[in-house]
């Protein structure tokens, strides 16, 4: 079953230009879906439509099986939203911020204290529990904003760049927590500029630019689809210059670079990795040389992102 169904979504703020221009995609129940794109691509606007904050100009959008234009209140009862913009009660302590939020979500009184204590401990907020939100650091405020949203259960969680301002430990802690939520069945819709995070967290990603979706698939499939030139680094003992010559002469279109001494590796940039490996093997057998080090850089999500977004910029 799909938690989110979007068909030909268009949004215009001024009636002239579409900031979201014909998006169509689905997100399955229990999936972590990464929504990636450069600044101004239309990610936040899409989240605003999905969370019923704004109405679509055109298209059909269903969240948890309900039309966002007709059943906004019912949808909002079942989702959690962490918006990109910071928000908190300035004059209240971290703990009271959480109490207010628990009250707004109508969490039974008997459960509130237990939940707050658990979250405060899990996300390392004990030291600033009684400190006013106005007096804590930006990263701590962001953590408060995130933890506050976890005080209530939600079937579908929207996270709009949730890790901005967080230190690496808090970020790892949080991403791991999101993974555990997804394991328990929560669907997560996630936007980020940090592609390592998306790689770590998401089952599938969509890449949006200028309001249009240009790629959508599992991360492995995207990497396979957009795999291009890869960098091989190789270090041999006897005659690196001879290996470099072989590679240059036989590997058409490859860039072979390096100082060709025994200390620094030869760098080969090619889209024919198996051919390069065969040449290296041949060299080792013929010269009786030994392989000191070999590294084939994998295609990362970042490479896919640059390729997809770069292609669109060039168009």
């Amino acid at each position: 079953m799909n938690s989110i169904e979007v068909s030909d979504l268009k949004v215009s703020y001024d009636g002239k230009k579409y900031v979201v221009d014909g998006l169509s995609f689905d997100v399955e129940e229990g999936e972590i879906f990464g929504f990636l794109g450069p600044n101004g691509a239309g990610k936040t606007t899409t989240i605003r439509v999905l969370t019923t904050l704004i109405k679509p100009t055109q298209g059909i959008v269903n969240v948890l099986g309900m039309d966002v234009t007709k059943r906004g209140l019912e949808i909002r009862k079942r989702i959690g939203v962490i918006l990109q913009q910071p928000s908190y009660e300035w004059n209240l302590s971290v703990e009271k911020n959480m109490y207010i939020y628990a009250t707004l979500w109508n969490i039974p009184r008997s459960q509130v204290k237990k939940r707050i204590d658990e979250l405060i401990e899990k996300f390392d907020l004990a030291e600033i529990r009684k400190v006013s939100a106005a007096d804590i650091s930006i990263g701590q405020r962001r953590r408060l904003q995130l933890v506050r949203e976890l005080i209530h259960d939600s079937e579908l969680l929207f996270l709009d760049e949730p890790t901005i301002g967080l230190d690496p430990i808090a970020r790892k802690n949080l991403l791991t927590y999101f993974k555990s939520l997804a394991k328990d069945g929560t669907t997560i819709f996630f936007t980020t500029h940090n592609l390592e995070e998306a790689d770590f967290l998401c089952d599938r990603v969509g890449i949006i630019n200028h309001g249009r979706l240009y790629a959508i698939d599992s991360i492995d499939n995207l990497k396979a689809t957009y795999e291009g030139d890869r960098t091989i680094e190789v270090l041999v003992n006897k005659a690196p210059e001879r290996l470099a010559e072989k590679l240059k002469s036989r590997l058409v279109g490859a860039v072979v670079d390096g100082t060709f001494n025994k200390e620094s590796p030869i760098k080969i940039v090619t889209n024919k990795v198996p051919d390069a490996m065969e040449i290296i093997n041949e060299y080792i057998k013929e010269e009786g040389d030994s392989l000191l080090w070999l590294n084939i850089k994998k295609t990362e999500l970042e490479d896919v992102f640059f390729k997809v977004v770069g292609e669109q910029q060039n168009e």
């Binding site: 900031v19 600044n39 101004g40 691509a41 239309g42 990610k43 936040t44 606007t45 605003r48 969370t51 019923t52 904050l53 704004i54 209140l73 909002r76 009862k77 989702i79 939203v81 918006l83 990109q84 913009q85 910071p86 928000s87 908190y88 009660e89 300035w90 004059n91 209240l92 009271k96 207010i100 009250t103 707004l104 979500w105 109508n106």
Partner: protein, 256 residues
């Protein structure tokens, strides 16, 4: 718990810190005691509505009525502040309607107005002659509600429209000054009052709230109250409609 009650609770908890409460109480108490007693030393008593009245007794109902400006400014400030701190967008992404938020804000400010008015009455009692009946209390209640709805709605419209802290503060301070001093809070509007100012007082809803509450305090309420209440029902309806209009078009942050 009902959604509107939860939102009202949140508005009161987040808006009423020690500084705000001190401001809400100390400013009117200051007006009442400092201005009332100082001016009272030169205006010993004067004829108002056929009876001799001390100046403190005269301005006490005005200061009570002035609480509606306090409550109203709080409503506008809460909306403005929620917009500025991102809480408005966050609340709109929760299971609350925009109407519920607006209603909660109005309820919260009515509660603040009543709290302030009650404190003012208790502070004023030792210094004033008061002759209020149960019917008079009912009238005070009605005037405070209608006045709060009128001025609260004006401030909500301001909070929904402005985009900077400075503009909000400047406009609300100017409004506070003009509305207070062109009403009958500190002086009666008589045939001696300069004509433009008398006209301004007539167009100022606070004048009707003050005169109505003053009549209730002095037990001189009568037919005029029907007129005052009709004016205030009209102004509160007009300004609530304006507030709703601006509120529906409220711009959340402009991130794409």
């Amino acid at each position: 718990m009902n959604s509107t009650i939860r939102l009202t609770y949140r508005i009161i908890r987040s808006a009423l810190d020690v500084n705000t409460i001190s401001f809400l109480i100390l400013l009117p108490v200051g007006y009442l005691l400092i201005m009332g007693l100082m001016m009272g030393s030169i205006i010993h008593s004067f004829n108002y509505g056929g009876s001799n009245l001390s100046y403190v007794s005269f301005i006490a109902p005005g200061i009570v009525a002035d609480q509606i400006l306090m409550g109203g400014s709080m409503a506008g400030w809460v909306l403005w502040s929620d917009k500025r701190t991102g809480m408005l967008e966050q609340i709109f992404s929760m299971p609350f309607s925009r109407f519920q938020y607006q209603l909660s804000n109005l309820i919260a400010m009515i509660l603040v107005t009543f709290g302030g008015a009650l404190i003012m009455i208790l502070v004023a009692i030792p210094f004033i002659s008061i002759n209020i009946t149960a019917y008079g209390f009912l009238l005070v209640f009605i005037y405070l509600v209608l006045g709060t709805l009128t001025f609260g709605s004006i401030m909500l419209a301001l909070g929904a429209t402005v985009r900077s802290n400075q503009v909000f503060n400047v406009i609300s301070n100017i409004m506070f000054f003009v509305v207070t001093f062109t009403s009958s809070v500190f002086y009666p509007i008589t045939s001696q009052t300069p004509r433009p100012l008398a006209m301004a007082a007539m167009l100022n809803p606070l004048t009707y709230v003050v005169d109505g509450i003053r009549g209730a305090f002095l037990n001189t309420s009568g037919v005029a109250d029907i007129y005052y209440i009709a004016v205030l029902v009209t102004t509160s309806a007009i300004f609530m409609a304006i507030a709703s209009y601006t509120y529906k078009r409220i711009k959340l942050s402009a991130t794409v």
